[in-house]
């Protein structure tokens, strides 16, 4: 099953790699959001470090939403999804494959976004890089897992681009709140143990929703 999942993910990533339009737009979009934030605050009144966790997470939320919206859009062209469903792979492996591809996509955008964020807002992330990456990874897995499931549904509805954020944001907010709190603790130079509670909640959220989406996904693709 994992092999099938990997094949699905590889196909998606290959399509992405060949064209590179989506990933490039997502990266440019991330940079633009960071820019908007820079001009959206008064630098003399609000210190960058106070606002930093929010900036980071709002940027990542938007970038993830952009990535998820295109995940199943790709499959709707020329009935590619029907072809995928006809292939002798289980529905759950298709989900895992999509999840891996989406995670790779979002991770790439975040990998570009994080150093730029540190650069633009003069935030020292190198001392806490390890724990910070852990927080980002845990939060990203959680909302990409739910988002991949939801995008499979919204892709085939009317006003798909609008419906996905409306459905997904209530589910993104709890992990986002925990991630922002953990990030704030880390950037303020507190030890990782202080953010331990939030990290455990994030991990629990990941386990519950990856499992749930794995079992629910087959119900979203029609037979």
């Amino acid at each position: 099953m994992l092999r099938h999942a990997w094949l699905v993910a590889r196909k998606d990533l290959l399509v992405e790699f060949r064209s590179r339009t989506a990933i490039l737009s997502a990266v440019v979009f991330t940079i633009l959001v960071l820019l908007v934030f820079n001009f959206g605050r008064d630098p003399t009144a609000v210190a960058a470090v106070d606002l930093a966790p929010s900036i980071l997470w709002v940027t990542f939320t938007f970038a993830a939403m952009l990535a998820l919206n295109r995940a199943f859009h790709l499959e709707l062209e020329n009935q590619a999804l029907d072809g995928l469903l006809l292939a002798p792979v289980s529905r759950s492996s298709i989900y895992l494959g999509k999840l891996i591809a989406n995670l790779a996509f979002v991770a790439t955008v975040e990998a570009v976004g994080l150093p730029l964020f540190a650069l633009f807002f003069n935030v020292r992330i190198t001392p806490v890089l390890g724990p910070l990456v852990l927080v980002i990874a845990l939060a990203t897995i959680g909302f990409v897992a739910v988002g991949t499931l939801f995008s499979a549904m919204t892709g085939r509805t009317r006003f798909a681009e609008l419906l996905l954020p409306v459905l997904l944001l209530p589910f993104m907010l709890p992990p986002l709140i925990w991630a922002v709190l953990a990030t704030a603790a880390l950037l303020a130079g507190r030890p990782l143990s202080e953010a331990g509670g939030w990290l455990r909640l994030l991990a629990a959220f990941d386990i519950v929703f990856v499992t749930l989406a794995f079992f629910l996904f087959p119900a979203t693709v029609s037979e």
Binding site: P170, F171, P174, I177, L201, F209, A219, S222
Partner: protein
Amino acid sequence: MKILKTGRWITVSGLALLAAVYVRALAFTPVERTQGMAQKIFYIHLPSAIWAEGAMIFVGVASIFFLFLKDARLDRFAEASAEVGLVFCTLVLTTGPIWGKPIWGTWWTWDARLTLTLLLFLMYVGYVLLRGAVTDPGLRARYAAVLGICGMSLVPFVHLSVYMFRTLHPQPIVIKPSAPSLPGEMLTTFLFSFVVFSILYVGFVTQRYALALLRERAEPHA
């Protein structure tokens, strides 16, 4: 239609009893010492809050069974319960600020409980929107079931974080591990009100269920 009539009767008796709840709450229940009359809204606020969350759990449970049994009745019930849950959630979000203004001095704060009730409200809205956006009935039922199960699974996380944040909201005084710390007479009024709200929930859901049934008969292919 029998089911619609039954629903109407349950709702009407529920509404009559709601008036009785208010007579009891205003005239025969002691006034809280520090909050004064503002505390009376508690008898609407908490029962609605319990049913706002309870309805989501029923949506989730009905959705799980729907995915296994493919029974249209479960789907209709989930739809009805979600819409009624949305109404109760709206009640919580309206009565909360009315109490908050005199007691906290502000209509709204970004307190954990308030935020999470708002999340629940948005989940209900999302659920209703998703149902409206899918035209094929079979697909709609399955999509809604998936969303319903996810929604139900989010509720425990919401609760966990409520206990982890320091919050401005009054701590639970009725539903908590130890015995309720509410004075006896207030507790009686609250329990009475809770029973009435349960009757209202059943009445509303029954009527909404009948409506879904009527709609299916009117447009068999829509």
